[in-house]
């Protein structure tokens, strides 16, 4: 991540949350397990977190996810909203060392994807189910299965969508030293 002005980060949080909302609310492909979707928004989240850092990642996910729940009116599932925020936070933390604006080669692809796998595993494999058990006293085997199904589908989605977005974005950015002085 490059150093960004704090105002840019807060604007990015706003626009990122709006993107997260639109993808999650209008482009979701439902899977048979309730609460879980094949959701493009996590690909976007990984990309934004890598670009704007952990605070942006956490808040984009938190605001975007809470707005989705509000708009559906099925109640706000805080356990899942918080899990999303944790995913965004870890995605931002893990990619601090790389800058996808400068280059997105093999090394960056590895860091980016290892981070997102870890983030999703912690968020959906640990945080969401544990909170579900604490808040709603749901049976453990049910919530862990839900979390695992959701987590794996999110990992696959992020691996494809997030990586492709980052590759395309970094290719579209002009590189330093790409201009040559004419003879």
């Amino acid at each position: 991540m490059n150093k960004k002005s704090p105002i840019t980060v807060f604007v990015a949080i706003g626009i990122g949350a709006a993107l997260f909302f639109v993808l999650g609310r209008f482009v979701a492909i439902p899977s048979p397990v309730p609460n879980t979707n094949i959701s493009l928004q996590y690909g976007l989240l990984a990309f934004m977190a890598a670009l704007f850092g952990p605070l942006a990642g956490a808040l984009i996910a938190f605001i975007g996810h809470a707005l989705i729940d509000f708009s559906y009116g099925w109640g706000v599932w805080w356990s899942w909203v918080i899990a999303s925020a944790v995913a965004g936070l870890i995605m931002g933390l893990g990619t601090k060392k790389i800058s996808i604006e400068k280059s997105f080669g093999k090394k960056e692809i590895c860091v980016f994807n290892i981070t997102q796998v870890v983030a999703h595993l912690i968020a959906w494999g640990v945080v969401a189910p544990v909170l579900d058990i604490l808040i709603y006293a749901e049976p453990a085997n049910k919530v862990f299965t839900q979390g695992l199904v959701g987590g794996i589908s999110n990992i696959v989605t992020t691996a494809i969508v997030g990586t492709l977005l980052a590759i395309a974005f970094s290719a579209a950015k002009p590189k330093t030293g790409s201009l040559k002085k004419e003879a």
Binding site: A18, F26, L67, D69, G75, P139, K142
Partner: protein
């Protein structure tokens, strides 16, 4: 924007309340309903919520669609709980009263039925308040409410930006989708496998990302030029002052929270257990 969030503008006590009050009520009410598993308390909350609905002049027909959605979701979730753990109630309440032996491990016990009743009540206790909040709070007042309950105004402003740009981004995404489809990119086609569909989806997302990055830069520059973030506090155009009904509502919801916590204490745990004879 009201199209997305189902805000219904009517003249009522609840509508006149400050958005901050409604947010506090929503948060404390949800917390109270989340911490307690006392059946009597969970049964009281929906009744109170229906009284609030009456006060807000929001009619059943206004939110019928939302309720229907919730109902389907609730049935599905209950079914899943039963399939995965048909004797969860037995472990929670520590006794086993079999009503029907059933098939294999899927027995029917009084404890399990009681547990499901609690799950249903939990839905009924929390969801009407969320619906009420969404349908009586103007989205443009939301950011000022967040800032009023003590959240950093920069974060509150991000929320307000998100609400402002959702319709724009939605329209843009729709345009991009149509033009990419015209070029032969399919996203929802059943004929393609999931990997191919995700790849196509990324190709549709990319133009949206590029234009959003431009948007971020333009907005950030405009805000920086106007000195955003210079002061510790800011004022909000759509802020409402607290009046008597606001204080009443806040005291009322604090009482609910206190009852919920006391019940946890009295019951010696979160559950109200009628099976101890």
């Amino acid at each position: 924007m009201s199209g997305i969030f189902n805000y219904i503008n009517r003249e009522s006590v609840i509508h006149r309340m400050s958005g901050a009050t409604k947010l506090i009520v929503l948060i404390l009410w949800s917390l109270a309903a989340m911490t307690s598993f006392d059946t009597r308390f969970l049964a009281l909350l929906p009744i109170l919520a229906f009284i609030l609905f009456g006060l807000s002049k929001i009619r059943f027909s206004d939110v019928k669609f939302l309720l229907w959605f919730t109902f389907v979701f609730m049935v599905l979730n209950n079914l899943l709980i039963y399939i995965f753990s048909p004797e969860h109630g037995v472990t929670i309440y520590g006794s086993r009263t079999v009503i029907l032996e059933g098939y294999g491990r899927w027995t029917l016990t009084a404890e399990q039925l009681f547990y499901h009743l609690n799950v249903v009540l939990k839905y009924l206790a929390t969801i009407p308040v969320v619906i009420l909040f969404v349908s009586t709070t103007d989205p443009s007042e939301f950011a000022s409410s967040l800032s009023k309950i003590g959240i950093n105004y920069k974060v509150a402003y991000s929320v307000s930006l998100a609400l402002r740009y959702i319709p724009d981004i939605q329209r843009e995404f729709h345009d991009i989708m149509i033009s990419q489809q015209a070029r032969g990119l399919e996203m929802a086609s059943k004929k393609q496998n999931i990997i191919k569909r995700l790849k196509n989806a990324s190709a549709m997302l990319f133009p949206l990302i590029i234009s959003s990055m431009d948007r971020i830069e333009v907005i950030a520059n405009a805000m920086e030029l106007r000195g955003f973030g210079k002061h510790k506090k800011r004022s909000w155009y759509s802020e409402r002052p607290f009046r008597a009904p606001d204080y009443t509502a806040i005291i009322f919801v604090c009482l609910l929270m206190a009852i919920s916590l006391t019940l946890n204490f009295i019951n010696g745990g979160r559950y109200f257990n009628p099976f101890i004879g």
